[in-house]
Subunit: 112 residues, 2 copies
Amino acid sequence: MTSVFAAIADPTRRAVLDLLARRPRAAGEIGSEFPRISQPGVSKHLRVLREARLVDVTVRAQERIYSIKPEGLAELYEWVAKYQAMWPDTLSALERYLDARGAGEKAKGKKR
Amino acid sequence: MTSVFAAIADPTRRAVLDLLARRPRAAGEIGSEFPRISQPGVSKHLRVLREARLVDVTVRAQERIYSIKPEGLAELYEWVAKYQAMWPDTLSALERYLDARGAGEKAKGKKR
DNA sequence: TGGTTAAATAACCGTTGCGTAATATAATGA
DNA sequence: TCATTATATTACGCAACGGTTATTTAACCA
């Protein structure tokens, strides 16, 4: 599970990245956002994100502070960008596109 | 396997998308690019891509012509774009970033 | 027709992934 | 030193995934 693509395939891990995009958090604080998943479960998700180089960890006492690490996402962005030529038109056209699909959810914090 | 994220988690399916990005192809023609995978194996990958709305199909006699369908990729782009703010700098900075990592597999004209 | 071609579906199988409870590791602090 | 806190690791069950072979569906054509 080293791949960025496999790492973001899981909705829980995408939700973790969304959390960390707001601000860094200790592992336990992340876990408290997922009450239906056990502590080891969260820990394993964090390991996958680490191995995909999507997050960074710093140690503070017993805590592990996780934060977003852009490297992996840049790799993903590079891959998607290859296909931009086939979008209806330019970027603004893309956004109309997404709006038409009702894809404007990112404004109100939700999960998926 | 309805999710775009899960669909692109598999390297074979990403390779199929790369093929179709060049030009549309019949299912059999796609399959011939993957000699190590059986016909039903390829057919199942195509089904996943269809359900993720990443490809389009048109019928021509007994053939199914597959082509890239941007909707799904736009959804993915939307997700990645949320994180752009945390990249080192602007887009050009991102590209220097990628070059430094030797990530220039897709474009030959991308050297510094 | 019947035979051929193209692709999808069905049934099955080994591997992997996500979840769990139990345990281990490690730093804190009385 | 010892109990507590925070997190990771281990061991294991089960469902889903990617692959296979066999079969089905459907269009073409002699």
